[in-house]
Point group: C5
Chain length 367, copies 5
Amino acid sequence: MSHRKNRRRRRHRRPDLAAAPAGASPPAAAPIDSATLRLLGCDGSSCAESIVLRPEELTVAREQWPVVWIDVEGIDDTATTALIGSVFEIGELALEDAVTPDERPKVEVFGHQVLIAARTVRYDSEGIVTDPVCIFLGDRYVITFRERQARDPFELVRQRIRHGRTRIGHEGADALAALLLDVLIDGYFPVLEQFGDRLEALEDEALNKPSRQSLVGIHDVRNDLMTLRRALWPTRDLLHALGREPTPLVGEHARAHFRDSYDHTMELLDLMESYREIGSDLRDIYLASLNNRMNDVMKVLTVIATIFMPLTFITGYYGMNFNTESPWNMPLLNFRYGGPAAIGIMAATTIGMVAFFWRRGWLKRWH
Amino acid sequence: MSHRKNRRRRRHRRPDLAAAPAGASPPAAAPIDSATLRLLGCDGSSCAESIVLRPEELTVAREQWPVVWIDVEGIDDTATTALIGSVFEIGELALEDAVTPDERPKVEVFGHQVLIAARTVRYDSEGIVTDPVCIFLGDRYVITFRERQARDPFELVRQRIRHGRTRIGHEGADALAALLLDVLIDGYFPVLEQFGDRLEALEDEALNKPSRQSLVGIHDVRNDLMTLRRALWPTRDLLHALGREPTPLVGEHARAHFRDSYDHTMELLDLMESYREIGSDLRDIYLASLNNRMNDVMKVLTVIATIFMPLTFITGYYGMNFNTESPWNMPLLNFRYGGPAAIGIMAATTIGMVAFFWRRGWLKRWH
Amino acid sequence: MSHRKNRRRRRHRRPDLAAAPAGASPPAAAPIDSATLRLLGCDGSSCAESIVLRPEELTVAREQWPVVWIDVEGIDDTATTALIGSVFEIGELALEDAVTPDERPKVEVFGHQVLIAARTVRYDSEGIVTDPVCIFLGDRYVITFRERQARDPFELVRQRIRHGRTRIGHEGADALAALLLDVLIDGYFPVLEQFGDRLEALEDEALNKPSRQSLVGIHDVRNDLMTLRRALWPTRDLLHALGREPTPLVGEHARAHFRDSYDHTMELLDLMESYREIGSDLRDIYLASLNNRMNDVMKVLTVIATIFMPLTFITGYYGMNFNTESPWNMPLLNFRYGGPAAIGIMAATTIGMVAFFWRRGWLKRWH
Amino acid sequence: MSHRKNRRRRRHRRPDLAAAPAGASPPAAAPIDSATLRLLGCDGSSCAESIVLRPEELTVAREQWPVVWIDVEGIDDTATTALIGSVFEIGELALEDAVTPDERPKVEVFGHQVLIAARTVRYDSEGIVTDPVCIFLGDRYVITFRERQARDPFELVRQRIRHGRTRIGHEGADALAALLLDVLIDGYFPVLEQFGDRLEALEDEALNKPSRQSLVGIHDVRNDLMTLRRALWPTRDLLHALGREPTPLVGEHARAHFRDSYDHTMELLDLMESYREIGSDLRDIYLASLNNRMNDVMKVLTVIATIFMPLTFITGYYGMNFNTESPWNMPLLNFRYGGPAAIGIMAATTIGMVAFFWRRGWLKRWH
Amino acid sequence: MSHRKNRRRRRHRRPDLAAAPAGASPPAAAPIDSATLRLLGCDGSSCAESIVLRPEELTVAREQWPVVWIDVEGIDDTATTALIGSVFEIGELALEDAVTPDERPKVEVFGHQVLIAARTVRYDSEGIVTDPVCIFLGDRYVITFRERQARDPFELVRQRIRHGRTRIGHEGADALAALLLDVLIDGYFPVLEQFGDRLEALEDEALNKPSRQSLVGIHDVRNDLMTLRRALWPTRDLLHALGREPTPLVGEHARAHFRDSYDHTMELLDLMESYREIGSDLRDIYLASLNNRMNDVMKVLTVIATIFMPLTFITGYYGMNFNTESPWNMPLLNFRYGGPAAIGIMAATTIGMVAFFWRRGWLKRWH
């Protein structure tokens, strides 16, 4: 039951960043411990990738490269987060948003930076799960914060840069941010496509052999769609804001890219709404199937009762103990062919009843 | 089950145009291969139609005619698409949108061009299908991209031009774009009209002989309406934008035409909403019919049981083996007219029961 | 089934006005044939009514009177429509809108004219029908186009003018247009009032004797309300636009009148929404009634079975053929008062069962 | 059934004020007949109340007092209405709105006057009824029009003024209008509070003894809520307009008061929405209760049938007439303890069946 | 049933503050009686907490500290409220809002003060309850009004200030107000998290043993969600206004904090909507479970009847009293192995019936 997981994931929110020595001197010497920092620096002609191990490398990279992308994997490492915050002058509220696991997708402008909180999606044993990804866009750098994940959602972007198909040193940090967000949104398509299969299987089940399992399955599909909707609706809003409202940090080219991602989100939402309605329809089909089954059961009972009750009455009739010395009392009993005659009466009754049900169509199965 | 097809059509999206040598020299000599390019050039007095076979013809046509319409059938021919892109200076993002099979209807302004993504509609063996059609509007040209289709949706426009009823050389490229879109929208009317027949047939079925097939039919109608809605709602938005917001490329006359198409889309949407509600009502009618059927079955069972149970009891009574030597034990058994008397009692009971049910109205059929 | 008619009325839309010799010389000499043109010209002091028979009269009237109202009955007479179009300089698109039978209510400004497309309502053998009425408002004239109808919706306006209660020569063409629209809206009230009666009758039926007919009746009410809604919602929008947005052709006094009509439309819509909800409630009541009926049937069956099954068992018991020579086998059978004793046992069982059902309240009828 | 009354109240709308000699000389000498006019004039220090009997008093009062409030009870007295219209220079359309019984709440500015149409609420034998109250606000006067009512809704305001708690001579006419509207809105609270009791009683009924009466009760609650909603939604809109949009006649202090009333209306609407949803839930509870009842009935039938059918079979078995001279035919019949043995078999069967049902929980009642 | 409490809490609203001597001299000497006033004054370096016992302390504190926070616990103490109103120059309408128990969350600007009406949430024996909390924000002071409560919602804020983590003397009164509101919103998370558990337990119940209790439970969850929604929706609106609209009293830093609280409210609302839908789904699951139960019952009845009716017929057949002297009448009765033969026929019938039901799957239990 997928809402179990929703509830659990809500448990502890808002890491207490202020517990770290805020206002103290920059923790330049703190070792980068549990988080993995992937650095990608580009200038007009080439790009270099590395794993950041010592804090100083960040400051150096920021100065050295025209466009820098730092990808932080592991948002629970508060020390590293604070370090990046001090190097790139990120405010406390913004940093807190970046590392909150249940952050709702949004975009917020903090002076010289744009914070884009988004969510990736994946299938998990219990259903659909969405994980937070936070993108900080500065004038010459992009910083992404995300949880440790089995699959790196940004590997595609890295490959694109390696193969020279996207020249972020040339196009700027805003183009990189738009590309990252685009890749995140595209990750929703394969997940949503699986719903088609699930719904189709459930439809067959609901029509042909409605069981309690089908009902649970329909319920789970609806829960998963709710999880998706909670992630996609605010994403739509943030893409609308990014694509339409002019901000100094986001150029026209990146805005066109955001508008394109917005269109993809709208497609996803359209499709999702359709799946939601199909889910509702399935419930109705399931209930109608149950109803039909009940009808089937009742018909069997009625057919059996209607055939055997008259027969039993006839046998009862000839089982009465009237004194057959009187010729008026049960004359058939002493008749030489009384037994066969009774059988004949019973057969006629049975044939009549069966014909009646045949004409009513009750002897055919429902489907 | 029409959502099966929806799912499948979502499979592979976004052709990788960048795989073509972007930024390379214009592929002027590439042969036009799998796509069909219909060229229609007009000046103030006359129009000429031709099939473009060699790339150079495009450049020539663009220069020669005051208004040019290129109709590209076959959006999977990436080489041709890239060629047109380079001749008419279409950006990469715009070109990608033009040839994406699942593009959502939208309008977007790219500098000196307006991209209008729309969808045509047709009935297919599995239900309603919508196909993408993309209209590029430049200052002096219109380019349409569409999939290979059994029926050319623009044949009507061509005829109109041939017969001189629309003088696009005189009215301009924007008027041509408005006319093309108008013809696409008009294509929805005959499709929507068929829903009336389908719903009527389903209503008769649901009322008179509700079967599992009716439920599947109602479900299919609802799925088809969802497919239509996914195409029509964004079309409404794009027509609103084209009709109300002034852009340099779209003149007042074309805007009036777009507003007119907008009104037709609203009519379509109103009608569609009505059909959706009728679809919901049908489901309720279907369920009520099932319920009534069950009632019918129960009544038969009850009538039979209520008539025969007392009768069987009476026969059982006279079948008891009490010693009839005692005058207190079952005196009727030895009575000369005991048998007829018992039959009389049974007949009276039966008549009473039948009268009871007659007065309750259970012996009439339901409808 | 009222959606049958909706479907049919959609069949052929958009008369091909361009088939008439557009751009040709004004068809001044064409006879006015199938349409009826009622002319009403007013100056400050008096008004004159006439039926236009010859085309020239239109040109004369337009010049002669400060305010002219031409009421065209019969929109299928394309020649007359084209004639009026040329006399009053109405554009082709506007004229096409005026004579389209399924035009959605809307207001559109065409240069020096305002086109108001509205719909009248009437009851027909199959349910509610709405007919298009189109009002052209110029600076000094009003032209109304409508289908031939059994009842002239504008007769009230004519009477008002004849009795001098509205001085359109003094108040202007915009006041006349506002009055015409007001009269159209007022025509919806009596139609909507009939729904109250229909719903009340259906409620009684659904509660007391739910039949298949009630379900069809509820369905028809809902279809009729959908037809009304399709006419009233866009009417509301057009009245909002006319009452709030300043246009040179509509003065402040007429705008106040339009706002008043807007309020009446809102009342109609409020009432309609209530009726829609009552319609939904009725369906639930109907289903609950069916359910209750089934309950009733089941109770009868259960009461009968529960009373007679034990009785039949007792008779069966005393019908067993055990050898009664053994004193342990069925001693009552040879007892002198065995028969009456068995009757006593049966009576006691019956009384017990009846008491049980009495206390459960099953012997009362449901309502 | 409360929609019965809705329908009836709609019957005749819009009194024909123009039937009175409009444009004629002010009917200064017409006697004030069927309506009651309460005049309240205030200056900075004191207030005076009186009943207006002669028309001249109105003109005098208007000149004499800085702030005048005329409360007209009885809107069907068209002569008096016309008189007030001429004394206070109220336009025809505005006056018509004031005396229309079914006027929808709205606010409209007529030059130097603000017309506020609102509705009071009361319980009546058939359910909730709302009556129109119209407030005209001029620069130095307030005129209220209302139907004759059992309870004067403005008595509270009069008392407040008498006790000097509101100094309208000091605060101005707009403050008086705000106070009057506030009192009207407050009148909705006690009415809405009764819904809580009604819904609670219905919930107990629906859960414990669902009858047809409960269904009618739920339906009536929903109808009453619809009546309330039709009055409250437009009231919300008018208060929003009065509280937010600056008009010369309404000062900042009165606007704050209107905003306060707006908040109260929002509270009422929130509560009303909750009641509507509880009403929907009740219907579901009612249907589930019916379903459970049916289940109960079926269980009784099944238990009885399942216990007695095997018993009857056993008695039937020993009632067969096989020739017991063969030792293979029914040997128990001639056995000395055959009877008790058969009873033992029957008892064992019965105990087994009862145990089976006991374990299934069918012998417990449902709740 | 939680709406019982809603109703009761609505009973008496709007304390009559004007009953206190308004306009009289400030009640400086009135003792602070039933309310508890916690004062917290801060300057740039330190803060001091105290309980206000005498009225004069308020005036002193207001002058002495750069930022003052007065927390008033006990809003029914009208004397104290009036005192604070006079010291901090709060208008009558604003003060009335502050002490109304059923105030809807809202923000209102009264000249030099901002009134923020919010609600805290808690679980109570009858379900969820929300209590009003009113925050007055002046240029250098914050005043909070709340009911006496078991748990002080602001204790967290006090601790934060005591530990120097929030320096309100430095950050200003607006930062304090933002922090207070943030703490109130955070109080909703643990309450909402419990819904997950409740819904999960109800889902298990509805699927496995649907009882009347489950239905009441689902109904209660929905009522609680309605209570929450009534508190959260207007809170969302007020936070939107506070975070987006610039006001002189609220600085950019506080606005960012309000926007953050707004995001949390949106998360709460998203989650709440999901719970509402799960609640609806549960009702459907419950009804389907009931339906399945009924099906189960019917199957048992049908199986029993279908097995025993033929058997009883066979025993009846051999119980008929035909004269067996005729070789045509019931020849088996005198056959030596007639009894075993009859048993064989019965066994065969039974096995056939059981096989029939086995193949239909009726002998398996439903789940």
